[in-house]
Symmetry: C2
Subunit: 138 residues, 2 copies
DNA sequence: TGATCATTTCGCTAAATTACGAAATGAAAT
DNA sequence: ATTTCATTTCGTAATTTAGCGAAATGATCA
Protein backbone atom coordinates (compact mmCIF):
# COMPACT_ATOMS: atom_id res chain seq x y z
CA UNK A 1 0.00 0.00 0.00
CA UNK A 2 1.74 3.10 -1.23
CA UNK A 3 -1.00 5.30 0.14
CA UNK A 4 1.23 6.80 2.79
CA UNK A 5 3.72 8.31 0.36
CA UNK A 6 1.10 9.40 -2.12
CA UNK A 7 -1.10 11.27 0.27
CA UNK A 8 1.86 13.50 1.13
CA UNK A 9 2.38 14.25 -2.52
CA UNK A 10 -1.28 15.13 -2.97
CA UNK A 11 -1.23 17.29 0.11
CA UNK A 12 1.81 19.14 -1.19
CA UNK A 13 0.15 19.71 -4.56
CA UNK A 14 -3.10 20.76 -2.92
CA UNK A 15 -1.79 24.22 -2.15
CA UNK A 16 -2.20 26.53 -5.14
CA UNK A 17 1.10 28.29 -4.53
CA UNK A 18 2.98 25.01 -4.45
CA UNK A 19 1.23 23.81 -7.59
CA UNK A 20 2.35 26.96 -9.37
CA UNK A 21 5.90 26.39 -8.19
CA UNK A 22 5.81 22.90 -9.61
CA UNK A 23 4.37 24.09 -12.91
CA UNK A 24 7.06 26.74 -13.14
CA UNK A 25 9.76 24.15 -12.52
CA UNK A 26 8.17 22.00 -15.20
CA UNK A 27 8.39 24.88 -17.66
CA UNK A 28 12.03 25.36 -16.75
CA UNK A 29 12.68 21.81 -17.89
CA UNK A 30 14.19 20.81 -14.60
CA UNK A 31 15.23 17.24 -14.38
CA UNK A 32 15.61 17.02 -18.11
CA UNK A 33 18.78 17.77 -20.04
CA UNK A 34 18.66 21.37 -21.24
CA UNK A 35 21.62 23.42 -22.37
CA UNK A 36 22.19 26.89 -21.02
CA UNK A 37 23.94 29.75 -22.86
CA UNK A 38 27.41 28.54 -21.91
CA UNK A 39 26.76 25.06 -23.26
CA UNK A 40 26.46 23.40 -19.86
CA UNK A 41 23.46 21.60 -18.51
CA UNK A 42 20.98 24.02 -16.99
CA UNK A 43 20.48 22.86 -13.44
CA UNK A 44 17.25 24.69 -12.68
CA UNK A 45 16.25 28.03 -11.22
CA UNK A 46 17.41 29.26 -7.83
CA UNK A 47 14.98 29.52 -4.94
CA UNK A 48 15.07 33.27 -5.41
CA UNK A 49 14.12 33.00 -9.07
CA UNK A 50 11.24 30.71 -8.17
CA UNK A 51 10.08 33.21 -5.60
CA UNK A 52 10.31 36.10 -8.06
CA UNK A 53 8.25 34.18 -10.55
CA UNK A 54 5.56 33.25 -8.08
CA UNK A 55 5.24 36.34 -5.90
CA UNK A 56 7.03 39.06 -7.84
CA UNK A 57 9.27 39.71 -4.84
CA UNK A 58 12.90 40.56 -5.56
CA UNK A 59 14.29 38.35 -2.83
CA UNK A 60 13.16 34.99 -1.59
CA UNK A 61 10.53 35.15 1.12
CA UNK A 62 10.29 32.82 4.08
CA UNK A 63 6.93 31.63 2.80
CA UNK A 64 8.30 30.42 -0.53
CA UNK A 65 11.30 28.89 1.20
CA UNK A 66 8.86 26.96 3.34
CA UNK A 67 6.81 25.81 0.36
CA UNK A 68 9.91 24.62 -1.45
CA UNK A 69 10.91 22.48 1.49
CA UNK A 70 7.41 21.07 1.76
CA UNK A 71 7.65 19.97 -1.86
CA UNK A 72 11.07 18.52 -1.16
CA UNK A 73 9.76 16.60 1.86
CA UNK A 74 7.01 15.17 -0.32
CA UNK A 75 9.67 13.92 -2.71
CA UNK A 76 8.41 16.06 -5.56
CA UNK A 77 11.39 18.37 -6.06
CA UNK A 78 15.09 18.37 -5.30
CA UNK A 79 16.90 21.30 -3.69
CA UNK A 80 20.65 21.45 -3.92
CA UNK A 81 23.09 24.01 -2.62
CA UNK A 82 25.33 25.67 -5.18
CA UNK A 83 27.47 28.37 -3.66
CA UNK A 84 25.19 30.65 -1.73
CA UNK A 85 22.15 29.75 -3.74
CA UNK A 86 19.78 26.84 -3.69
CA UNK A 87 18.99 25.23 -7.04
CA UNK A 88 15.54 23.70 -7.48
CA UNK A 89 14.59 20.94 -9.85
CA UNK A 90 11.61 18.75 -10.49
CA UNK A 91 11.81 15.07 -9.56
CA UNK A 92 10.02 13.99 -12.72
CA UNK A 93 10.09 10.36 -11.72
CA UNK A 94 8.01 11.08 -8.61
CA UNK A 95 5.32 12.70 -10.75
CA UNK A 96 5.27 9.72 -13.08
CA UNK A 97 4.82 7.41 -10.11
CA UNK A 98 1.96 9.40 -8.63
CA UNK A 99 0.33 9.53 -12.06
CA UNK A 100 0.52 5.75 -12.27
CA UNK A 101 -1.10 5.44 -8.88
CA UNK A 102 -3.96 7.66 -10.01
CA UNK A 103 -4.47 5.53 -13.10
CA UNK A 104 -4.48 2.45 -10.93
CA UNK A 105 -7.23 3.99 -8.84
CA UNK A 106 -9.14 4.98 -11.96
CA UNK A 107 -8.94 1.48 -13.41
CA UNK A 108 -9.31 -0.50 -10.19
CA UNK A 109 -6.34 -2.66 -11.07
CA UNK A 110 -3.40 -4.09 -9.15
CA UNK A 111 -2.06 -1.75 -6.53
CA UNK A 112 -5.33 -0.53 -5.15
CA UNK A 113 -7.42 -3.65 -5.45
CA UNK A 114 -7.80 -6.09 -2.58
CA UNK A 115 -6.57 -9.62 -3.06
CA UNK A 116 -9.34 -10.65 -0.70
CA UNK A 117 -12.42 -8.77 0.30
CA UNK A 118 -11.39 -8.89 3.95
CA UNK A 119 -8.22 -6.95 3.14
CA UNK A 120 -10.20 -3.75 3.47
CA UNK A 121 -9.73 -2.75 7.08
CA UNK A 122 -10.98 -1.81 9.58
CA UNK A 123 -14.61 -2.67 8.90
CA UNK A 124 -13.64 -6.01 7.47
CA UNK A 125 -15.69 -7.94 4.93
CA UNK A 126 -16.13 -5.62 2.03
CA UNK A 127 -19.55 -5.28 0.51
CA UNK A 128 -18.16 -6.65 -2.72
CA UNK A 129 -20.10 -6.46 -5.95
CA UNK A 130 -19.62 -10.17 -6.59
CA UNK A 131 -21.99 -11.07 -3.80
CA UNK A 132 -19.57 -13.54 -2.29
CA UNK A 133 -19.39 -11.92 1.09
CA UNK A 134 -20.66 -13.88 4.08
CA UNK A 135 -20.96 -11.05 6.53
CA UNK A 136 -22.33 -7.77 5.25
CA UNK A 137 -20.36 -4.61 5.91
CA UNK A 138 -22.83 -2.71 8.04
CA UNK B 1 -4.67 26.45 -17.55
CA UNK B 2 -6.42 23.64 -15.75
CA UNK B 3 -4.52 24.35 -12.56
CA UNK B 4 -7.64 25.57 -10.80
CA UNK B 5 -9.52 22.32 -11.15
CA UNK B 6 -6.53 20.14 -10.44
CA UNK B 7 -5.46 21.79 -7.24
CA UNK B 8 -8.88 21.01 -5.78
CA UNK B 9 -8.46 17.37 -6.72
CA UNK B 10 -5.03 17.25 -5.09
CA UNK B 11 -6.35 18.96 -2.00
CA UNK B 12 -9.16 16.46 -1.74
CA UNK B 13 -6.76 13.54 -2.09
CA UNK B 14 -4.35 15.10 0.39
CA UNK B 15 -6.42 13.97 3.34
CA UNK B 16 -5.60 10.36 4.30
CA UNK B 17 -9.20 9.52 5.14
CA UNK B 18 -10.41 10.74 1.78
CA UNK B 19 -7.65 8.87 -0.01
CA UNK B 20 -8.77 5.67 1.71
CA UNK B 21 -12.35 6.33 0.69
CA UNK B 22 -11.25 6.67 -2.90
CA UNK B 23 -9.18 3.51 -2.76
CA UNK B 24 -12.12 1.66 -1.31
CA UNK B 25 -14.40 2.89 -4.09
CA UNK B 26 -11.76 1.79 -6.58
CA UNK B 27 -11.81 -1.69 -5.09
CA UNK B 28 -15.58 -1.74 -5.35
CA UNK B 29 -15.27 -1.27 -9.09
CA UNK B 30 -17.40 1.83 -9.09
CA UNK B 31 -17.79 3.48 -12.42
CA UNK B 32 -17.13 0.22 -14.20
CA UNK B 33 -19.74 -2.32 -15.20
CA UNK B 34 -19.97 -4.99 -12.54
CA UNK B 35 -22.82 -7.42 -12.01
CA UNK B 36 -24.35 -7.91 -8.60
CA UNK B 37 -25.97 -11.09 -7.30
CA UNK B 38 -29.31 -10.35 -8.97
CA UNK B 39 -27.69 -9.84 -12.36
CA UNK B 40 -28.04 -6.06 -12.36
CA UNK B 41 -25.24 -3.53 -12.55
CA UNK B 42 -23.74 -2.88 -9.13
CA UNK B 43 -24.06 0.85 -8.59
CA UNK B 44 -21.53 1.21 -5.78
CA UNK B 45 -21.59 1.17 -2.01
CA UNK B 46 -23.84 3.36 0.09
CA UNK B 47 -22.40 6.21 2.13
CA UNK B 48 -23.01 4.09 5.19
CA UNK B 49 -21.04 1.17 3.79
CA UNK B 50 -18.18 3.47 2.94
CA UNK B 51 -18.24 4.80 6.47
CA UNK B 52 -18.30 1.31 7.96
CA UNK B 53 -15.31 0.33 5.89
CA UNK B 54 -13.29 3.39 6.81
CA UNK B 55 -14.15 3.95 10.46
CA UNK B 56 -15.80 0.71 11.55
CA UNK B 57 -18.87 2.65 12.67
CA UNK B 58 -22.22 1.02 12.08
CA UNK B 59 -23.90 4.18 10.85
CA UNK B 60 -22.57 6.97 8.73
CA UNK B 61 -20.88 9.74 10.67
CA UNK B 62 -21.08 13.41 9.87
CA UNK B 63 -17.34 13.42 9.30
CA UNK B 64 -17.48 10.80 6.54
CA UNK B 65 -20.51 12.48 5.03
CA UNK B 66 -18.48 15.66 4.87
CA UNK B 67 -15.49 13.93 3.28
CA UNK B 68 -17.71 12.33 0.66
CA UNK B 69 -19.08 15.70 -0.33
CA UNK B 70 -15.60 17.18 -0.47
CA UNK B 71 -14.63 14.47 -2.93
CA UNK B 72 -17.79 15.14 -4.90
CA UNK B 73 -17.07 18.88 -5.00
CA UNK B 74 -13.60 18.09 -6.32
CA UNK B 75 -15.23 16.10 -9.11
CA UNK B 76 -13.61 12.85 -8.02
CA UNK B 77 -16.70 10.88 -7.05
CA UNK B 78 -20.42 10.89 -7.78
CA UNK B 79 -23.09 10.67 -5.10
CA UNK B 80 -26.59 9.76 -6.10
CA UNK B 81 -29.72 9.33 -4.05
CA UNK B 82 -31.44 5.96 -4.22
CA UNK B 83 -34.34 5.68 -1.85
CA UNK B 84 -33.13 6.78 1.52
CA UNK B 85 -29.54 5.93 0.82
CA UNK B 86 -26.79 7.68 -1.06
CA UNK B 87 -24.83 5.60 -3.56
CA UNK B 88 -21.18 6.49 -4.10
CA UNK B 89 -19.13 5.82 -7.19
CA UNK B 90 -15.74 6.78 -8.51
CA UNK B 91 -15.52 9.22 -11.40
CA UNK B 92 -12.77 7.26 -13.10
CA UNK B 93 -12.47 9.76 -15.89
CA UNK B 94 -11.50 12.51 -13.46
CA UNK B 95 -8.66 10.39 -12.13
CA UNK B 96 -7.43 9.70 -15.64
CA UNK B 97 -7.42 13.41 -16.36
CA UNK B 98 -5.51 14.31 -13.23
CA UNK B 99 -3.03 11.54 -14.00
CA UNK B 100 -2.48 13.03 -17.44
CA UNK B 101 -1.85 16.43 -15.90
CA UNK B 102 0.78 14.95 -13.62
CA UNK B 103 2.49 13.29 -16.55
CA UNK B 104 2.41 16.59 -18.38
CA UNK B 105 4.16 18.21 -15.45
CA UNK B 106 6.69 15.38 -15.28
CA UNK B 107 7.50 15.68 -18.95
CA UNK B 108 7.29 19.43 -19.32
CA UNK B 109 5.08 19.16 -22.36
CA UNK B 110 1.98 20.91 -23.64
CA UNK B 111 -0.44 21.87 -20.95
CA UNK B 112 1.99 23.14 -18.41
CA UNK B 113 4.53 24.75 -20.67
CA UNK B 114 4.37 28.44 -21.48
CA UNK B 115 3.81 29.45 -25.07
CA UNK B 116 5.86 32.51 -24.29
CA UNK B 117 8.27 33.07 -21.47
CA UNK B 118 6.26 36.09 -20.29
CA UNK B 119 3.21 33.87 -19.77
CA UNK B 120 4.53 33.05 -16.32
CA UNK B 121 2.91 35.63 -14.10
CA UNK B 122 3.30 37.60 -11.95
CA UNK B 123 7.06 37.98 -12.04
CA UNK B 124 7.04 38.10 -15.81
CA UNK B 125 9.99 37.23 -18.00
CA UNK B 126 10.86 33.68 -17.04
CA UNK B 127 14.47 32.86 -16.41
CA UNK B 128 14.33 30.40 -19.26
CA UNK B 129 17.09 27.88 -19.78
CA UNK B 130 17.44 28.91 -23.39
CA UNK B 131 18.90 32.24 -22.41
CA UNK B 132 16.59 34.19 -24.69
CA UNK B 133 15.14 36.39 -21.98
CA UNK B 134 15.83 40.11 -22.19
CA UNK B 135 14.98 41.06 -18.66
CA UNK B 136 16.17 38.76 -15.94
CA UNK B 137 13.64 37.47 -13.45
CA UNK B 138 15.14 38.86 -10.26
C1' DT C 1 38.27 39.66 8.92
C1' DG C 2 34.37 42.06 7.76
C1' DA C 3 30.79 42.93 4.46
C1' DT C 4 27.36 41.15 1.57
C1' DC C 5 24.12 38.04 -0.41
C1' DA C 6 20.83 33.96 -0.37
C1' DT C 7 18.34 31.31 2.45
C1' DT C 8 16.40 29.53 6.78
C1' DT C 9 14.56 29.75 11.49
C1' DC C 10 11.72 31.94 14.85
C1' DG C 11 7.67 34.07 16.83
C1' DC C 12 3.42 35.31 15.79
C1' DT C 13 -1.43 35.96 13.74
C1' DA C 14 -5.23 34.77 10.89
C1' DA C 15 -7.60 31.45 8.47
C1' DA C 16 -8.73 26.85 7.19
C1' DT C 17 -9.44 22.02 8.36
C1' DT C 18 -10.73 17.89 10.92
C1' DA C 19 -13.68 15.91 14.00
C1' DC C 20 -17.60 15.11 17.04
C1' DG C 21 -22.34 14.94 18.97
C1' DA C 22 -26.93 16.75 18.75
C1' DA C 23 -30.55 18.27 16.20
C1' DA C 24 -32.78 18.65 11.59
C1' DT C 25 -34.09 16.91 7.05
C1' DG C 26 -35.63 13.54 3.37
C1' DA C 27 -37.57 9.31 2.06
C1' DA C 28 -39.64 5.02 2.79
C1' DA C 29 -42.32 1.66 5.73
C1' DT C 30 -45.93 0.65 9.07
C1' DA D 1 -49.86 10.14 10.07
C1' DT D 2 -46.26 8.39 12.65
C1' DT D 3 -42.23 5.90 12.92
C1' DT D 4 -37.94 4.53 11.32
C1' DC D 5 -33.79 4.81 8.80
C1' DA D 6 -29.96 7.24 6.19
C1' DT D 7 -27.92 11.31 5.70
C1' DT D 8 -27.01 16.23 6.35
C1' DT D 9 -26.63 20.59 8.94
C1' DC D 10 -25.28 23.05 12.95
C1' DG D 11 -22.40 24.54 16.65
C1' DT D 12 -18.08 24.08 18.51
C1' DA D 13 -13.30 22.57 19.97
C1' DA D 14 -8.65 21.16 18.61
C1' DT D 15 -5.24 21.10 15.23
C1' DT D 16 -2.94 22.48 11.16
C1' DT D 17 -1.57 25.64 7.77
C1' DA D 18 -0.29 29.96 5.19
C1' DG D 19 1.81 34.11 5.58
C1' DC D 20 4.71 37.81 7.37
C1' DG D 21 8.74 40.41 9.33
C1' DA D 22 12.82 40.16 12.13
C1' DA D 23 16.70 37.83 13.47
C1' DA D 24 20.00 34.03 12.59
C1' DT D 25 22.78 31.06 9.61
C1' DG D 26 25.84 29.69 5.60
C1' DA D 27 28.71 30.87 1.98
C1' DT D 28 31.15 33.91 -1.02
C1' DC D 29 33.68 38.26 -1.94
C1' DA D 30 36.52 42.38 -0.91
Amino acid sequence: MNGEMNHKAYKALGDPTRLRIVQFLSQMCCGRAVMNESGGVYPGPTASEVCCQITGAEKITSTISHHLHELEAAGLIAIERRGKQMICSLRSQAFEEVALNLQSIARGDGTNACAEASDCEPGGDCCTPTGEVEQACC
